[in-house]
Symmetry: C2
Subunit: 134 residues, 2 copies
């Protein structure tokens, strides 16, 4: 029996064979992070229901949480109209998605008007990264 891979034909990978994937907290709706997937990472995510990305810096599969323990359990996978962005709804183990020890990677907010705008860090560090990555 051959696995049905028609579903992956609807996914448009870029020139590097990658597609951005948004991880959204399934309960709160908070956007936790954006990372990249290749076809293998996406297929493994579908099969294992744990988020697997492609690390562009390390050039290898990155099973989210493999070092930190901050695994993402995937409850839903969505695709946008152009087929070139993936959305994962996840349960974030440990409540920390960001390597800085914060819940979300989007911890900076632009404050002020156009002529005096600046980024404000709005979210607390929940765990010291030194304790996350030993």
């Amino acid at each position: 029996m051959n696995p049905n891979t028609d579903w992956i034909a609807a996914v448009t990978f870029d020139a590097d064979g990658l597609i951005p994937a948004i991880a959204q907290d399934a309960k709160s709706g908070a956007i936790l992070m954006v990372a990249w997937m290749n076809a293998e990472a996406l297929s493994e995510t579908v099969a294992s229901r744990r988020a697997v990305y492609w690390s562009r810096s390390r050039k290898r599969l990155w099973r989210k949480g493999e070092e930190s323990g901050h695994v993402q359990t995937v409850s839903e996978i969505r695709l946008d109209c152009d087929g070139d962005v993936i959305l994962l709804k996840v349960e974030q183990q440990g409540g920390i998605a960001c390597h800085t020890g914060r819940e979300s990677c989007f911890f900076r907010r632009l404050d002020g008007q156009a002529n005096d705008a600046r980024w404000t860090i709005t979210d607390p560090v929940l765990k010291d990264p030194k304790l996350i990555y030993k």
Copy 2:
């Protein structure tokens, strides 16, 4: 008086001078769409508080809603830890972000297990695109 552009120095644009921007409904938390911005689009978004993207197909600024009327009023702008993804919290005029006439571009959900997975359209068309783009 020179405008302060230090904030834009924290933004990492890719080799094409672009950064992906996620539009999230500020109230419901629904992810509406992902599009691209160049520095000009981002600056204009900050100044006008209306989402302005860079259309990769048309190779010009795309003031969201310029044809459809489906303007996005921006209440918050966030940046991720690597500085290479923008998150906009928006009020979506008309309740439709997608060119297909749906609320969100992420209207396909992957159902089934790995060996029989398929995309299911889960969201209704709220307005016929023929009536949106005349």
